[in-house]
């Protein structure tokens, strides 16, 4: 029983890691930038959802607003900040890391901004669903209706993304532009615009993660920071440029965490992420589904 309970805990948190990993992978694939600001963007969109919920008193109505907000924030970050940065920087080692440094700066900026607007108090962004675990006979399992909606929501987002990438022209353009930007340009694809759309998708995924997970904890300017670390580790485990890899990496990490927590103790949670990361990099430097030289080429 304990084993299954632990698995269920892992599944729910893994689904959230997977969403965050998906957001990081989408940006990495389209622009070769590790977007540290993703945690900030997600928190900003979650505050937006919180405000909408305060106005409408309806959690479900607030989610689409958070998603749209997350997409718009991401599109702004890429379309305005990243594009200007790339345009102004010349070739060389600095131009390659400048965008990554910029995302770090942006994370700090967004965090202070949210702190200024909403304060650093722990706010409650509540879901109408119960956070209490389902009962099976006499036993309460550590899996609540909110956990269920987390898993369903994550699966839904992944399903929608998979369908877009596989079956639509936009998806084809997104894939082509991420693999071979120059050839895509020569084929007539507006690669800059397509990249911004990729960022917007990432922002939407991060927003879903924030809106679904926050009711299980609390909302504060840095309440999603740990999620960024987990999402990043999950993305690397999955190979950094594979969407399916991100999902598998997230679930694997979630379940791995749950077992470490259960059988070893809570004190090692944070370091466990890095130990898992190092182990994966030792055994499979490309990640479980990474493409040949994907990380090195970049």
């Amino acid at each position: 029983m304990l084993f299954i309970d632990t698995l269920l805990i892992g599944l729910s948190s893994g689904a959230i890691y997977a969403l965050m990993a998906l957001a990081l992978v989408l940006v990495w694939r389209s622009t070769r930038v590790v977007n540290f600001a993703q945690a900030g963007q997600a928190i900003l969109s979650t505050y937006l959802g919180y405000e909408v919920m305060n106005m409408t008193h309806n959690y479900w109505v607030s989610i689409p607003f958070a998603i749209l907000g997350g997409a718009a924030i991401a599109a702004f970050v890429d379309g305005v900040i990243m594009r200007a940065l790339v345009k102004r920087s010349h070739k060389g080692s600095v131009s390659e890391i400048a965008p990554v440094i910029a995302t770090l700066g942006l994370l700090g900026l967004i965090r202070s901004l949210t702190g200024m607007i909403w304060g650093n108090a722990y706010l409650q962004y509540t879901s109408p669903l119960s956070g209490k675990g389902y009962m099976i006979g006499q036993h309460t399992i550590p899996f609540s209706p909110q956990n269920l909606i987390i898993v369903i929501g994550a699966l839904l987002v992944m399903g929608v993304f998979a369908a877009i990438f596989k079956f639509t022209n936009l998806g084809l353009a997104l894939r082509a532009a991420s693999f071979q930007p120059e050839i895509s340009r020569l084929a007539g694809i507006r690669v800059d615009r397509i990249r911004t759309i990729g960022w917007a998708f990432a922002g939407a995924a991060g927003a879903v993660a924030g809106a679904l997970v926050t009711p299980t904890t609390y909302l504060s300017p840095n309440s999603l920071d740990l999620l960024l670390v987990s999402g990043f580790v999950a993305a690397v485990i999955g190979g950094l440029d594979s969407l399916i890899g991100a999902v598998l990496g997230g679930l694997l990490l979630g379940v791995g965490f749950a077992f470490i927590l259960q059988y070893i103790g809570t004190s090692v949670t944070f370091s466990a992420a890095f130990i898992i990361l190092i182990l994966v990099l030792f055994m499979r430097p490309r990640g479980i589904l990474g493409s040949k030289g994907g990380r090195r080429d970049a």
């Binding site: 022209n169 894939r175 693999f179 020569l186 007539g188 507006r190």
Partner: protein, 237 residues
């Protein structure tokens, strides 16, 4: 006025001047071969004409409009297609998807379907491999795919960068024959960049010979082929 006019064009490649004050013209419907050895500036020239890199001086116009300072994706949309060096296909996508890219932005979806069908008739090998990843194609098939994708955009100017590179002689002949057929059938103007002077000049109307970024000579390809001095010095046979 000629359809394609390049005048006094210079292009820098870092600190090096890769193309220096180059001028030539190509008439509508002509196939012009730009011949030169490795490092002559041929690829640089095409990259500038398709908007991938900026020119430092001079002009280049197609049907009276400047080619310089435009984004490649917009040039393609206005009919200037560039098949870049090294089989410009996307290996991570399958053949069908690579072809679809060529018409993804076009509004006239009916004509995209017609153009795709024409390409598959021209290169039946591609039809057999539609679901295969482009990575699994042979060099010749990749070149067919790259040219096919460009044709689906219905270009009127085709810039071809060394389609013969790394291909067996028999395949080179097939590709060149296909290009020659195409331009007669579709009325395409073609700028063909080649090291393989013999094969290129055989199908070309005019030849433009460049060496270290400057024009050596240009003229009717028949005359160039007949010129013993040129043959020895630049055509390599």
């Amino acid at each position: 006025m000629s359809a394609l006019e390049v005048s006094n064009l210079s292009i820098n490649h870092g600190a090096i001047v890769a193309v220096r004050k180059l001028s030539f013209t190509v008439e509508k419907g002509q196939l012009a071969a730009i011949i030169g050895s490795n490092g002559a500036g041929k690829t640089t020239l095409l990259r500038a004409l398709s908007g991938l890199i900026p020119a430092s001086e001079g002009t280049a116009t197609w049907k009276g409009k400047s080619l310089l300072g435009q984004k490649p994706e917009n040039l393609v949309r206005s009919g200037v297609a560039h098949v870049s060096e090294g089989k410009s296909v996307i290996p991570e996508l399958n053949v069908k998807e690579n072809l679809a890219l060529g018409g993804i932005w076009r509004k006239d979806k009916k004509d995209v379907a017609i153009a795709t069908e024409e390409v598959l008739e021209l290169f039946p090998r591609l039809r057999e491999r539609l679901q295969q990843s482009a990575d699994t194609l042979s060099g010749g098939e990749r070149q067919m795919l790259a040219i096919g994708r460009a044709l689906i955009a219905r270009p009127d100017l085709l810039l071809l960068d060394e389609p013969s590179l790394g291909l067996a002689p028999l395949i080179i002949e097939q590709i060149f024959e296909a290009v020659n057929q195409l331009r007669h059938r579709l009325g395409l103007t073609v700028l063909l960049v080649e090291q393989n002077a013999m094969s290129a000049l055989k199908i070309a109307d005019v030849g433009i010979i460049i060496n270290v970024g400057t024009l050596v000579t240009s003229g009717q390809s028949k005359e160039l082929l007949a010129d013993a001095n040129l043959r020895a010095a630049y055509l390599g046979y």
